[in-house]
């Protein structure tokens, strides 16, 4: 499966990452080699690569963009998503970022919770809640965040399936970039037409909002808006479907935690944060080093690649006591997880992700009593490195009524 070649299929990479981190918080290695994955064909040859594994080193690499640059993504994200925020550095980055962030601030997305997110969640659960069994990836997690995006964009229903297929092709970066570039061209044409239509006849959808936005008195460049929209499928869909799936797997594997959460929904926010720390959907970011520097006591020459291993830092025992324990009551202290990254490229959609996961987990717990793994089907397992997720989650439950 292309996806697994791209994202990885390691079941439990954490012990290996911890072993490396205990050697040193920064090591000269490539994660794809460490975990026996096929090489990333978009990586330029001849560059030294370092893995940042320690909490402080990951934070430093993410919060010093003048040294650790997002131009790392010029070889993969730029040819596929186009001129998106991910490939930008200062000074242009922040001005554009603020425009897009405005549409996803916490008090803005909280308004979508009741009227947009909940109906999608309800419709999907309604299709299987009487059955007593379900496969929660194909019937729920893989659908709901994308459906929310399509409704935000007020995308014509007849375009949705083609759109989904093209979006999936976009992110086969490491293994089949030509497929990604072809999808990029097609999506670009589609979005340019949609942008023009909404400019002429604006509505109350996200695209209409963005075409009216300005940076320093000027409209957003079309290529930046198209880049954002291409990225939205991956950044808002792929991530949230995987984090929701991961949360379900974690709870099903820890039935005591599942029962605790079912009986005390005030723990939902901390359960979400703990999953994001313990087994978040995005394992790492990449950065290109712009000047000779030292990180974690290791000299890194200009032109090197740093693989910023967020998933390793999120289990750093010097910052998170008993880091390998999944504990939904863990207090959110000064140590922040890196599931949404950190610094200037911090996830714009994090607040919407939390709203979606909150609605999803509450509805599933409300409507699927005695939710448990189906012992007669393959067991759910979160796997991967670049992204982590289960391929399926077969469950049984006791239908209400």
């Amino acid at each position: 499966m292309d996806d697994r070649l791209n994202w990885g299929d390691a079941f439990d990479p954490y012990p290996k990452l911890a072993e490396l981190r205990r050697q040193a918080p920064v090591v000269e290695a490539e994660y794809r080699t460490v975990f026996g994955m096929s090489p990333d064909v978009t990586r330029p040859e001849g560059r030294r690569t370092f893995m940042a594994l320690g909490y402080h080193e990951v934070r430093e690499a993410l919060t010093h963009p003048e040294i650790y640059s997002n131009t790392f993504y010029n070889n993969n994200v730029l040819p596929t998503f186009g001129r998106s925020l991910t490939v930008m550095d200062a000074p242009e980055h922040m001005g554009f970022r603020k425009i897009f962030q405005k549409a996803f601030l916490p008090h803005v997305v909280s308004q979508w919770s009741e009227g947009l997110v909940q109906p999608v969640v309800d419709e999907l659960i309604g299709k299987f809640e009487k059955r007593g069994t379900a496969e929660l990836v194909s019937e729920f997690t893989m659908i709901y965040p994308f459906e929310i995006i399509f409704r935000q964009l007020q995308m014509p229903r007849e375009d949705v399936q083609v759109f989904k297929n093209l979006g999936a092709s976009l992110t086969s970066f490491a293994v089949d970039p030509s497929k990604g570039r072809e999808a990029s061209v097609k999506l670009g044409r589609y979005f340019e037409a949609l942008i023009e239509a909404r400019r002429k006849d604006p509505g109350d959808d996200l695209i209409s909002l963005l075409v009216q936005a300005e940076v320093d008195g000027e409209a957003l460049p079309v290529e930046v808006l198209v880049g954002f929209l291409r990225q939205l499928l991956n950044a808002a869909g792929d991530t949230t479907y995987r984090s929701t799936s991961g949360l379900l797997v974690a709870l099903l594997d820890h039935p005591d935690q599942l029962e605790l959460l079912r009986n005390d929904r005030s723990l939902v926010p901390s359960a979400i944060e703990e999953l994001l720390r313990w087994d978040g959907p995005v394992g790492l970011q990449g950065r290109l080093v712009m000047q000779d520097t030292t990180l974690g006591g290791v000299d890194i020459p200009k032109g090197s690649i740093v693989e910023v291993m967020a998933m390793a830092a999120d289990r750093d025992e010097t910052m998170f006591p008993d880091p390998d324990k999944f504990d939904i009551t863990r207090k959110i202290g000064a140590a922040r997880h890196f599931a949404f990254s950190s610094g200037p490229h911090l996830c714009i959609g994090q607040h919407l992700a939390r709203v979606e996961m909150t609605r999803a987990i509450n509805a599933l717990l409300d409507r699927l009593p005695n939710l448990r793994k189906d012992p007669d089907k393959p067991q759910p397992e979160s796997r991967g490195i670049w992204m982590r997720y289960p391929d399926h989650i077969h469950v049984k439950f006791d239908p209400k009524g």
Partner: protein, 54 residues
């Protein structure tokens, strides 16, 4: 309820909590936070914060 929000990322400055990681003690009023302080989530400056009704 009005809150002080970083318009670059949505992080909210709560004066009762401060920002201990940056040695801003709980109970520190916004006007007493140093001008060179950065948002702990995204690194934006004080000038990127606005009062927002949530």
């Amino acid at each position: 309820m009005p809150v002080l929000m970083c318009m670059n990322c949505g992080w909210i400055y709560d004066p009762t909590a401060g920002d201990p990681e940056a040695e801003i003690a709980p109970g520190t009023a916004w006007e007493d936070v140093p001008e060179d302080w950065k948002c702990p989530d995204c690194g934006a400056g004080k000038s990127d914060f606005d009062m927002v009704e949530v």
